[in-house]
């Protein structure tokens, strides 16, 4: 347990240690660079894009890649490169709130399950197992069918389907910590439950969950893109990588650059976050390095 305490990021210097550790690993460095580039282009998207990503320009429609339009234009004459950059912003707008939300709720429920009475633990575990038993995309489709497609729907689906994963990990960690000496000592001194959970257990659990979250981001980006590809995610004309793929697929013989423009960012983003997550995991907690 002392290991976990020592490796938990608490101060800036420890964060710096983690970043240096990741950067020393070649794959981690690649991941760091890719993620950095995606975040940068998402934050400054409005200044980077050469054209308005939703402005139609019919005379220039279905143009191949050229000096004026690096990745060509779509069937409405919109600049693909601008839409790709803006799409990155949309992807992060869905992924980050969804994952933070799922992490917060999963953490709370998991800690309650691990620390609370047995019946509550059993109930929450059954609930988690049930939610995990829906194939993610099928569940997403059912929810979309019910409440209609929108950005909020995607965020909700991602949250609902990933809460169990965070919850289970938080519960296991809580169960192992529960009988450790420093927690028993706190209890003997009469610390309240909220103090034990919030002040003493939380710092020891959050590191593991953060790694899990980093590795979860690609899944979420892919799900958002997938739903938008099916026309069930973000609404047009919002530029999403999935929407680009949808337009490209419909006219795959005329505008194949749309498929490349929508597909490659997803692959690159997924690679970046996966490399970063794997490397982060090895640095933060080498014990987690198991099969996968």
């Amino acid at each position: 347990m002392t290991d976990a305490v020592a490796h938990t990021p608490k101060s800036k210097s420890e964060l710096a240690i983690i970043i240096t550790g990741v950067a020393r690993d070649p794959l981690g460095l690649i991941g760091l660079v890719i993620v950095g580039a995606i975040v940068f282009s998402a934050v400054f998207a409005a200044w980077i894009v050469p054209y308005d990503p939703i402005a139609m320009n019919i005379p220039d429609r279905m143009q191949g890649p050229s000096g004026a339009h690096w990745l060509g234009t779509d069937q409405l004459g919109r600049d693909t490169f601008s839409r790709v950059i803006m799409g990155g912003q949309v992807a992060l707008k869905v992924a980050l709130p969804a994952i933070f939300g799922a992490m917060a709720i999963g953490l709370t429920l998991g800690m309650i399950a691990g620390y609370g009475p047995k019946w509550l633990d059993n109930f929450l575990m059954l609930l988690f197992d049930t939610i995990r038993s829906f194939p993610t995309v099928m569940f997403a489709l059912a929810v979309v069918a019910l409440i209609g497609p929108s950005l909020q729907t995607v965020v909700f689906v991602v949250m609902a389907t990933s809460i169990p994963t965070y919850g289970r990990v938080a519960r296991t960690q809580t169960l192992t910590l529960r009988n450790s000496e420093f927690i028993l000592a706190e209890r003997a001194m009469g610390a309240s439950i909220t103090r034990i959970l919030g002040v003493h257990m939380l710092p020891n659990i959050i590191g593991v969950l953060a790694v899990l979250a980093a590795m979860d981001i690609p899944t979420v980006i892919a799900l958002e893109a997938g739903l938008s590809f099916l026309g069930l995610g973000v609404k047009p004309p919002t530029p999403s990588w999935g929407a680009l793929l949808k337009d490209g697929y419909a006219l795959i013989r005329q505008t194949p650059w749309l498929v490349v423009g929508g597909g490659l960012p997803i692959v690159i983003a997924t690679l970046g976050f996966t490399f970063l997550g794997e490397s982060l995991r090895d640095v933060v907690d080498p014990k987690l390095r198991k099969n996968r």
């Binding site: 829906f134 893109a225 099969n291």
Partner: protein, 312 residues
């Protein structure tokens, strides 16, 4: 073992019951009356009245839930809003297409992944091992529908080596049409399985019965193929069982991209026509499939490794 089997299936049944209840309550929790949502703009008073009577919407919620469960036990998932056909029939017509796709994908990726994993474990820390590890991570990262689209673009549209749409006829036609879709679904599994086999293989190779086999002078190839692999393959069984949900999810996208019939196509088409009972039916059937395959994976594991029986 019998007790374990019973317990595991009881848990699976319980999960299914809760899953159905959640689905059911979700439908009822949607604002507005379900009939108008289901029928959309096409709702005529007669159609509405028929649906209300059929779904017992005039009853109390617990009563409705009981009726729904009763129907499920008889294999009745309701009827198609428009054609009036049984949802069960429609769903089970499409299911074989999806299963064929999933099994072909998991078969090729498991064979290749196990071979890669064995090779990497036999030659640890060589450049081949490192290259395999890097490629594994990269492949795990590739979302099935993006691989599907890019392979459609390159191999079907541009090079025209493979057909772009449909399922084909006859054995060879079917197999030919399965190549690209199962490539898309299986690709991320190759790396995953390879890593899994490599890790568990290295673990097994350190055990005493392998040392004994070595002492008897058996060839390394024989030790890995005949003795170590038998145990090292266990995690793959579990992972495939648990990964069923993931496979089903990838199949949805792949079916759309390659315009193949199947559960995914059925659900998407039903969403666009707001054909509600079919969406629910297909989701429930795929959930059932997932729950059963997870339970089966646990059972196979318990059968092969007695230590796993005490965990649940």
């Amino acid at each position: 073992m019998l007790l374990f089997t019973l317990k595991r299936f009881a848990l699976a049944a319980l999960i299914l019951v809760v899953a159905v209840t959640i689905m059911f309550l979700m439908i009822r929790a949607v604002p507005g009356d379900p009939v108008s949502i289901m029928l959309g703009p096409r709702a005529t008073p007669e159609l509405k009245a028929r649906l209300i009577a059929e779904m017992a919407l005039d009853q109390s919620i617990p009563k409705q839930l009981m009726l729904y469960f009763g129907g499920l036990l008889r294999g009745d998932l309701g009827v198609d809003v428009f054609s009036g056909r049984e949802v069960t029939t429609i769903v089970f017509e499409q299911l074989p297409h999806t299963l064929k796709l999933i099994f072909s994908a998991i078969t090729w990726s498991a064979i290749l992944g196990i071979a890669l994993g064995c090779y990497a474990a036999a030659h640890p820390n060589t450049w081949i091992d490192r290259a395999a590890a890097t490629i594994s991570v990269s492949f795990i990262a590739a979302p099935a529908f993006v691989v599907a689209l890019l392979s459609l673009l390159v191999f079907a549209v541009h090079l025209q080596w493979f057909p772009a749409i449909g399922v084909g006829e006859g054995f060879w036609g079917t197999a030919w049409h399965l190549v690209l879709p199962s490539l898309a679904i299986g690709l991320s599994w190759v790396g995953y399985i390879a890593r899994l086999v490599r890790a568990s293989m290295l673990e097994v190779m350190g055990e005493s019965h392998i040392r004994t086999a070595r002492a008897f002078g058996l060839s390394e190839r024989r030790i890995i193929g005949a003795y170590a692999l038998r145990i090292a393959i266990l995690p793959v069984v579990t992972v495939i069982g648990v990964g069923m949900g993931f496979l089903l999810s990838s199949a949805v996208f792949t079916e759309i991209v390659f315009a193949r019939p199947g559960l995914g196509k059925l659900v998407i088409d039903s969403i666009t026509t707001r054909n509600y009972p079919i969406v629910m039916g297909a989701v429930l059937v795929s959930t059932g499939l997932f729950v059963i395959s997870t339970a089966l994976a646990d059972l196979i594991n318990a059968l092969l490794d007695p230590r796993a029986r005490t965990n649940t």
